[in-house]
Structures are given as structure tokens and as C-alpha cells.
């Protein structure tokens, strides 16, 4: 199998011309250091227009020479600016991505996966979803939710449901997107933040994020929930919500497994009946997912 097709840069973005495993070339136009191990990279394509995506989806980012990793899209689709990805340094590929500088070339494949269902395409006719929305984010889990919260806050001001954002972090220095938290609060969202361990400068709440559910103020019988964070956190939070009376069908979680191709070919992202790159990462909590979260070594 030695015959090759020469792909020249300028032809790359013609529709259908680029193979599913070949990255499109983007350049870093801005990098934001969120915490000591979390970085946001803002990317612009070398040619053509920025890709369309929905909050909750992810891209496979290539750090050329190091490899490829699944990274959440943390931007808002309605924001016309560069494509935002928020990366946590947990290995060689994410380390290289985190250390990318402005002007560096990054490969992008995607967007892949299911989304948080907060865009206008999820409205039935002209009906706005007026249910309360409870968004619970643990640690870096706020990154795949950021675009969704943007959409929800805007929808809320146009008659959509009230937005309740509960954020948990290990300690104050680990809280991401502080400016956005303030902005969303100013736009009418109820934003509660809690840390597991305080610092001397912290005057906010200290305790588990689930402890915020009690006085958040949403109506359990008339709400939907979006959860993202460590699996234990999502499992316990979902249970607490159900105990409060939230319909399990109204809870979405974002699941994570080893991801290598994003195309449903490599088999790594399997979780029971699902291929998370295709059927997830966002999945409804009810039924199969609820059982899966309770199973060990699945």
C-alpha cells in the first residue's frame, strides 16, 4: 500500500478533500493560563472559516511530534472569535499543547460527539425551554460546559429557564474562568462556588459541591441538569438531584474514556453499549448510564 496522494496545504479545506484522520491546520492566536495546570488555547484556521460546533463537543488536537488528544471545545458558538479549547496538563501530549505559544501550528480534527442540547435547534417550534437549568461543574469540568452556560444565560434573558451554576474546585487557585463566573452572575445567573480546601484569602463557601444543591433555589420538579466533572462527583451529584426530585431523564452527564480516533474506529472509548466519541460524551443519566456509573471496571 505505497501509493500516496499528495495533499498540498492550499487544497486542504475543500470539502471532502481531507481524510478523516488528517488534521486541519490552525494557529494559536492567544493563550490564557487559567491555573497552574490548565491552559486555554485560542485557535484560528490557516485558511477557510472556523468550524461550526455545539457546546459539549470536542476536537482531536494534534501537538505535532507528540501526538493527539481529545480536548473540549470551551468556547461559545455565537462568539465569532477564535476556536477556544481548554487543556489540562496530564501527559506528554497535553503538556505539549499547554506549552504551545502564539503562532504555533496545531492540528484540529472534529468536532466530534454529542452536545448539551442548549442551542436553538433544540427548541420545539417557538417554545423556549423554561425549566430551571442546574449546571454543576467540578474542576476542569467547567470547560466543556462554558459554551453551554453562555447559551443558557442568553436564553434566560430572552424568556428561557433560570440558570443555576454550581462550581466545585479543590482550592481557590484551581477555579477556572473567574471572569466568566462574574459575568454570568451579572447577567442574572445564580452562581455558587465552593472549594474543598480554603486558602487564607478565600471568603467563600468551603465544602462539597453537592452541599450547594440545598440552597441553590431551583425547582427540582421543573428543572433539567447538566453535570460535568470527575466521575465520582457526577455520580454523587446525580444521585443527590434525583433524591431531591429531579427527573433522571432531565439530567445530562459528560462521560470520559480513553479516546484515540474520534471516528468510532479504534474501539478505545467504549463504555458498555456506547462509543463515547459517537454516542457521547454527553449522555442522559437515566437508565443505562445510571447503571454504568455504578459498575466497576467497565
Amino acid at each position: 500500500m505505497s501509493a500516496d496522494v499528495d495533499r498540498v496545504l492550499e487544497r486542504e479545506h475543500v470539502a471532502g478533500d481531507r481524510g478523516a484522520m488528517t488534521p486541519a491546520l490552525y494557529r494559536v492566536v492567544e493563550r490564557i493560563r487559567e491555573t497552574d495546570d490548565v491552559t486555554t488555547l485560542c485557535l484560528e484556521p490557516l485558511s477557510g472559516t472556523r468550524m461550526e460546533f455545539r457546546p459539549g463537543q470536542f476536537n482531536m488536537l494534534s501537538a505535532f511530534g507528540a501526538g493527539e488528544a481529545a480536548i473540549s471545545l470551551s468556547g461559545s458558538p455565537r462568539d465569532p472569535g477564535p476556536l477556544r479549547h481548554t487543556v489540562r496538563d496530564v501527559g506528554p501530549v497535553t503538556r505539549t499543547l499547554s506549552e504551545s505559544g502564539v503562532g504555533d501550528l496545531i492540528g484540529v480534527r472534529g468536532p466530534f460527539g454529542s452536545d448539551w442540547q442548549v442551542g436553538t435547534q433544540h427548541l420545539a417550534g417557538d417554545a423556549l425551554d423554561r425549566r430551571d437549568v442546574v449546571v454543576v461543574a467540578g474542576g476542569i469540568g467547567l470547560a466543556p460546559l462554558r459554551g453551554a452556560v453562555d447559551e443558557l444565560v442568553v436564553a434566560s434573558r430572552e424568556g428561557g429557564g433560570r440558570v443555576f451554576l454550581l462550581v466545585g474546585a479543590r482550592e481557590p487557585a484551581q477555579i477556572v474562568f473567574n471572569d466568566d463566573l462574574e459575568s454570568w452572575a451579572r447577567q442574572g445567573a445564580r452562581v455558587l462556588v465552593s472549594v474543598d480546601r480554603a486558602s487564607s484569602q478565600w471568603h467563600g463557601r468551603v465544602g462539597l459541591v453537592t452541599a450547594l444543591l440545598g440552597d441553590a433555589g431551583f425547582e427540582p420538579a421543573n428543572c433539567r441538569a447538566l453535570l460535568c466533572g470527575p466521575e465520582i462527583m457526577m455520580r454523587f451529584t446525580a444521585r443527590a438531584l434525583v433524591d431531591m426530585g429531579v427527573d433522571p431523564e432531565a439530567i445530562l452527564v459528560s462521560l470520559e474514556r480513553n479516546m484515540q480516533c474520534g471516528l468510532g474506529w479504534c474501539g478505545h472509548c467504549q463504555l458498555g453499549p456506547f462509543l463515547l466519541c459517537r454516542d457521547g460524551p454527553v449522555l442522559p443519566y437515566a437508565g443505562v448510564v445510571r447503571e454504568l456509573l455504578n459498575e466497576r471496571e467497565r
Binding site: 486558602s199 465520582i232 474514556r257 455504578n294 466497576r296 471496571e297 467497565r298
Partner: protein, 156 residues
Amino acid sequence: MTSSIAELVAAHPFMAGLSDDHLAVIVGCARNAAFDPGDLLCKEGASADTFYLLRRGRVSIDVHAPGRGPIVIETVGPGDVVGWSWLVPPYRWTFDARAKDAVGAVAFDGACLRTKLQDDPAFGLEMLSRVSSQLLARLQATRMRLLDLYGDHRER
């Protein structure tokens, strides 16, 4: 010669000082229990219907997470008690409890205990005082552990 259930219950530190009347009440809910290493006494999410007094062997309280295996939260041993969720709705275990050695315990049926606590207020108060004092001790110890006393505490 094997001890009777009543003797085993009376010998356990959790029951120290319990009157003979109250001992008779509680023994009605008790049976012997034995576990092999690796057996689960409690499984996260399953219905919590047993209260254990550990007599022999160690038990780890742990929680499972993908990629991290079972994470041990705490270990308990002879003289300790395992299982509190039988007391509080929705009566479901929050964590796993796993036998680390061959474990011998006295197991109390949770529903039976709850009925007796309600039927006999004096007995109920006696038991809840003991439970409260155990929970308080565990809570304070857990809070101390949150301080991460041995860690690097330079603030960044």
C-alpha cells in the same frame, strides 16, 4: 465453646454499658456474619439494611473511580462499626465496605433495628447517642484529614 450472640454483642465496645433490657431488645435483630477477604459488606448504591459490629479482621471503606481503582477512604477494624446509611433515608450505601482479611462480625438487620428504635424511645435514645458519638468522632477525624497536615502549604 462458642459464645452466644448476646455475649458477642455485649462484649463489643460500641455496646459498652448497655443495660440487660436493651441488650435483649437488640439481640433480636442480630446474627453472626463472616466474610472472606475481598467480600463486600456494603456496596455503593445497594440498599443499606445491615449494621455491623466488627469483631475480627479489617474492613476498608472505599469508592471506585475509572482509572484509579478502588480508592480507600478509611480502614476500620475490630471494635469498630460499619454502616450508618441504614439509619437515614433513602437507606442506600454511599460507599463500598470491603473485607481486607477474614472478617467476623455481628450483623443487625437494619429494618428490625429501625422498628425497635421507634417502638422504644428510651432504647432509641440510647442507641442514637452511641451513633452520634461515633459519627462525631469520624467527622472530626475527617475534617482533620482535610487539613492535609503533612502537605506543602505554601499558597500560590
